[in-house]
Every structure is written in structure tokens, then in C-alpha cells.
């Protein structure tokens, strides 16, 4: 597994639904090198988000292995996995973006609270990220006053605060207009050049078919049905 940022082997996640067992993720294997942008496509209910959560350590898989930055995370105890995730994984969710009632900058610095709060250096880095993502002037604005695109870029800045080797995004362009979608895709292209492995789930052809995407994975019924470019 040399030169792997994110990978999984025989990954399975099953749920119980009454008497039935449903395999949301059913034997998924891949190995993703750093500095790449992959798109994970598939119809609703195909298991994309479940796979993303399992890869990010937010969901314990039923079986199989997940590796993040060269380390298996499946056998880790909860608090070790949390710390590992905090250090190595950046998350951006479609719905769960930012905490209402807090400013954009406070949101970006929120992951640092369990570590004792942001240092001056981290604060500077947060402001630099907001500047880079074009929302620096909104740093002191409460997030409910921001547009969908601004929020999404703020969430991206938060995910990038600790420069993680793995960035996971769930439908990052789903609720933004064409201009903001293009801006986010441009940012992802720019970010992958810096080294992180970026995996995005998407239905959006503007993102999936973009030239910056190195690989497209398609999921159906919990399995990776095809891998194509």
C-alpha cells in the first residue's frame, strides 16, 4: 500500500431493517494516492454517504479495513479514532455545514476547541484560508447571514484548517448556483495540487465530468460498479 492516502479492503457495512439485513456498503476495495481528486457517483441510496462516513471513521464498518494516511483505523478505540480523524481527515457535508449563531471564523476554528482552542498561528491560517476561498470579508459574519456558496466555502476552509492528508466531501455543489459550483470545483483542483487525497460524492456532472477529476467511481447497491474516467 505504498503511497496511499486513503484506502479500504473488503469494506462492508450492513444495517438491520426489521428482519432484513441490508448491505449499504458491500465489499468495497480501492486505494487512493495523495494529490488526487476522485468523484464517487451513484443514485440515491446506493451507499455513497455510508461509504464516506465509514472511510472518515464516523461509522464503524461491519467488516473490512479502512486505512487513512497509512494507518488502519478500524481497530482503533473510539477516542484514538477521534483524534486520528481530527488530525488526518477533513469533512464537508451537504447539509451539516456550519453551526448557526457563530461567526464564520468561529466555525472554522471550532475543530480546535477540544485541543484547547486555536493558537494565533491557527487563527492566521484560518483567515488565510478564508481569504484564499474568497470569503475573508465574511469572517466576522454569523453564518445564517451567508449565502449557500459562502457557507460551503467556509465549511471547506474549516475542513482544511489542519491541512489533512484526506478530504471527504458530500455533494459539495448540490445547493449552490453555477458560479459558486465552478468556484468550488476550481478550489478543489487547486487544493489537490497541495497534496491531499480528495474524495467527493456527487450527482453533479459539472463536478464529476470536470477535467480536474482524476477518477470516477460509480456505486450501485453498495458495490463499486465501475471505475472509469
Amino acid at each position: 500500500m505504498a503511497d496511499e492516502a486513503l484506502g479500504c479492503t473488503d469494506l462492508v457495512k450492513r444495517y438491520r431493517d426489521g428482519d432484513q439485513r441490508i448491505a449499504a456498503v458491500d465489499g468495497v476495495n480501492f486505494s487512493m494516492p495523495p494529490g488526487q481528486l476522485w468523484a464517487l457517483e451513484g443514485p440515491s441510496g446506493s451507499g455513497k454517504t455510508t461509504l464516506l462516513l465509514a472511510l472518515g471513521g464516523l461509522l464503524a464498518p461491519t467488516s473490512g479495513d479502512v486505512r487513512v494516511a497509512g494507518r488502519s483505523t478500524v481497530g482503533l478505540r473510539d477516542h484514538h479514532r477521534t483524534r486520528w480523524r481530527r488530525a488526518k481527515v477533513g469533512f464537508v457535508f451537504q447539509e451539516l455545514q456550519l453551526v448557526r449563531g457563530m461567526t464564520l471564523l468561529e466555525n472554522v476554528l471550532l475543530p480546535r476547541v477540544p485541543e484547547g482552542g486555536a493558537t494565533g498561528e491557527e487563527r492566521d491560517r484560518a483567515l488565510a484560508l478564508l481569504e484564499r476561498f474568497g470569503v475573508a470579508e465574511k469572517a466576522g459574519t454569523q453564518v445564517e447571514r451567508l449565502s449557500g456558496g459562502e457557507r460551503q466555502r467556509g465549511a471547506l476552509a474549516r475542513a482544511m484548517l489542519h491541512a489533512p492528508p484526506v478530504l471527504l466531501l458530500d455533494e459539495p455543489t448540490a445547493h449552490v448556483d453555477a458560479e459558486n459550483a465552478a468556484r468550488i470545483v476550481g478550489l478543489l483542483e487547486e487544493l489537490k495540487g497541495g497534496g491531499p487525497a480528495i474524495l467527493v460524492t456527487t450527482h453533479d456532472p459539472r463536478l464529476a465530468e470536470h477535467a480536474a477529476v482524476d477518477r470516477r467511481l460509480v456505486m450501485r447497491d453498495g458495490k463499486l460498479a465501475s471505475a472509469a474516467l
Binding site: G101, P114, G116, G117
Partner: protein, 393 residues
């Protein structure tokens, strides 16, 4: 330390974001704690006050009972009792109650010669002066509440009906200090001759006898000797008096506190509801926190800090308000329930007598259960599966 501080700052921000609910809960807690603490503060202050009064009370008080009713004591019994071993001195006392129609209340009439412990400090006027130097004038010192009700000042006349119903005119020479109200609210202190006339006590008899002992711990032994020497007598020692006071004041304070307990219980339920009821925005917030790398312990600690800040803030506010209500405002509304034993309610200037340890235990009584109440919902919140929130959101 830094982590705790950062989580505290986050928890304060979280409370600010849900300010209306947090403030409502803190104020409710402050109200319940404040009322409960007021009753405790007042009871403690009263207890200290009556214990101070008891220090001036005789070691033993001897009364006479006839057919179960209090009767006058022959003054010559004094000589018999003075001869008892352990008795330092015996003093005859002359006092009783008289109904004053103008205020529709009883007042306590006492003779100054027979009860010097019933002569507290004066606020205005002068002492009674020697009995033989006053001619026909019947001077009196009156209690602050009585003086206020009748608008009495030194030099004013006060007509009180004697035991036969004939009005006796007293001349007010002084008014007792309001700080002594618990002891002297409705007191009329006069010379012995006036007291005998008002109370209808003939020469050679007194209301009771006050005994001072050489060693107060010998009270039970001397009591038994007094009972043997004076059949049909009742001997009240200071311990019995203290018990009577405690039964009166602690019973009243307990009643007030018991009335307030349901309110505290209701507040506990409200707090449970507040800390266990995760609104949609809170669920989303916890989902976000866990998704961005907060651990279960971090969320649990933040929720507990929130609970602690609300409860400690509300309780501190309640204790401060209780202190101001009890000792600066004089506990309007509650003092009647705690102090009153006659129509003339005293308004004593009580001094705080609650110890720091009691304050902490009072705070702990509320904060402890509330934080415990918050613990389970906080744990449930911290265990919230981000996946569930993400899909639910």
C-alpha cells in the same frame, strides 16, 4: 486546563445562542433557590437571635400551677429557694398580657424591677428613673412596633385598661431600639407599682421566679429540688425554652421550606426537560461537532459545563437575591409567616447567621441534583450518531 477553558468558552457561546431558554431556566432556578434560601437565611438569623436572647434568660424559671392553670407565686417562696444548694440568686418577676383595644392586640406589661433582662436598649427618650421620684406620674418605656402603631413619642400619654377594665394613663419616657423588636416589639415596661395595678397582682405575690444557678449544668438537679420544695410548681429550664423556640421557628421555617419544595421539584423537571430535550438545531450542532472531530468526551464535557453554568449562575443569583431580600429588604411577605406570634409583628433587624459551609451545602442541594439530572441527557447527546443526524438533517 486550556481544553477546559476552551470548552467553557464554547459552552458560554452555546448558552448565548439559546439565550431565551438559558435565561428562563436560570431565572426560574434563581427564583426557587432564592425563596428557599430566604427561608433558610431567616431561620438561621432567627435562631441566632433567640439564642442570643436566651443568654440573658434565667437558668430556671419557676411558675405555679393551680388546677393546671398558671397562678401567682407567693413572694416568700423566694427565701426557700435561695437556700437550695446550687442556687446563686432568686429574683421575683412581674409581667403579663393586657388587651389594648385601640390596636386590637395584646401587649406585654412587665415591671422593670422584677425583670431587668426585659430592658433592652432605647432608641429615643430616657430610662424610667427611680420609682419614688416621680409622684403621681406613671412612666413607661414602650416597644418599637407598639410605638409605631400608636405613633408614640417620648412625652406622649398611653392609656391602658387595667385588670378591672379601668384605664390607667402612662407617660411614655422612651421607645426601645427597633433592633430589639424580636424581644420587645409589644413590650410596655413600667415600675412595679404600676405593673401591680395594671396586672392586678397583689403585694406579696409575683408572676414567676427567676433563678440564677452557680453552675448551669446543675439545672436538672436544682429543678428536681425546686419541685420538691414547692409542690404544684412548674420549673422551666433554658434548654426547654430553647426547645420551645426551636419548635416554633424551625417549625415555621420548615413549613415555608416545605411549601417551596414542590417549586424546586418543578424546576428540576424543567431542567431535565431543558437538558434532555435536544432541539433540531442542537442535534445538528452535535452532529457537526462530531463530524469535525469532537469526541464523545468533548461533547459530554461541553454539555455538562453548560448545565453547570446555568445552574451555578441561577443558584448564585438566587442566593444573592435571597440575602438582599432577607437582610436588606426585611423579607416582606415571608417575615409574617416566620416571625409572627401576636398581632404586633416584630420587624427585627436580623444579622446574617448562615455559615459558608451552609451556603455551599445549600448551593450543592440545588446544583448537585441539577447537574446529575443533566448528566444522562448530556451523555445521550454526546453518543448521538453523526450518521443519524446527517441523514436526518
Amino acid at each position: 486546563m486550556r481544553r477546559g477553558l476552551a470548552l467553557l468558552v464554547y459552552a458560554l457561546g452555546s448558552l448565548r445562542r439559546r439565550a431565551r431558554r438559558s435565561v428562563a431556566l436560570a431565572l426560574g432556578l434563581a427564583l426557587a433557590t432564592g425563596l428557599y434560601a430566604s427561608a433558610v437565611f431567616l431561620a438561621d438569623a432567627l435562631r441566632a437571635e433567640y439564642r442570643a436572647n436566651l443568654d440573658a434568660a434565667p437558668d430556671l424559671t419557676v411558675q405555679r400551677l393551680v388546677a393546671g392553670r398558671p397562678a401567682l407565686v407567693p413572694e416568700d417562696a423566694l427565701t426557700d429557694l435561695e437556700a437550695l444548694p446550687g442556687v446563686r440568686s432568686v429574683r421575683p418577676r412581674l409581667w403579663g398580657y393586657l388587651f389594648v383595644e385601640a390596636i386590637e392586640a395584646n401587649v406585654v406589661v412587665a415591671a422593670v424591677e422584677a425583670g431587668p433582662e426585659l430592658a433592652p436598649a432605647l432608641a429615643t427618650g430616657e430610662p424610667l428613673g427611680p420609682a419614688d421620684a416621680l409622684g403621681d406620674e406613671r412612666p413607661a418605656l414602650v416597644g418599637p412596633v407598639l410605638a409605631e402603631r400608636l405613633a408614640l413619642f417620648p412625652g406622649d400619654g398611653l392609656a391602658i385598661p387595667d385588670a378591672r377594665g379601668e384605664l390607667v394613663l402612662l407617660r411614655v419616657r422612651g421607645v426601645f431600639d427597633p433592633a430589639t423588636a424580636l424581644q420587645a416589639a409589644d413590650l410596655v415596661l413600667v415600675h412595679e407599682a404600676t405593673a401591680r395595678r395594671l396586672l392586678g397582682v397583689p403585694e406579696g405575690e409575683v408572676t414567676d421566679l427567676a433563678i440564677a444557678l452557680a453552675a448551669p449544668e446543675e439545672a436538672p438537679v436544682v429543678s428536681a429540688a425546686v419541685a420538691e420544695r414547692l409542690p404544684m410548681s412548674r420549673v422551666v429550664d433554658r434548654v426547654a425554652l430553647e426547645r420551645a423556640y426551636e419548635l416554633t421557628f424551625d417549625g415555621r421555617a420548615g413549613l415555608v421550606a416545605a411549601l417551596l419544595l414542590p417549586m424546586l421539584a418543578a424546576l428540576l423537571l424543567m431542567a431535565w426537560d431543558r437538558f434532555s430535550g435536544l432541539g433540531e438545531s442542537e442535534r445538528r450542532e452535535i452532529g457537526v461537532l462530531k463530524a469535525i472531530g469532537w469526541g464523545t468526551g468533548d461533547v459530554l464535557l461541553a454539555r455538562l459545563v453548560e448545565a453547570l453554568v446555568v445552574t451555578a449562575g441561577g443558584v448564585s443569583l438566587g442566593l444573592l437575591a435571597a440575602y438582599g431580600y432577607a437582610f436588606l429588604l426585611g423579607a416582606p411577605g415571608m417575615s409574617g409567616a416566620l416571625f409572627g406570634w401576636s398581632t404586633l409583628y416584630p420587624e427585627p433587624e436580623l444579622a446574617p447567621a448562615t455559615s459558608l459551609a451552609q451556603l455551599f451545602s445549600l448551593a450543592g442541594l440545588v446544583v448537585g441534583p441539577l447537574v446529575a439530572v443533566a448528566l444522562v441527557p448530556a451523555w445521550r447527546a454526546s453518543m448521538l450518531d453523526p450518521d443519524e443526524v446527517i441523514r436526518g438533517g
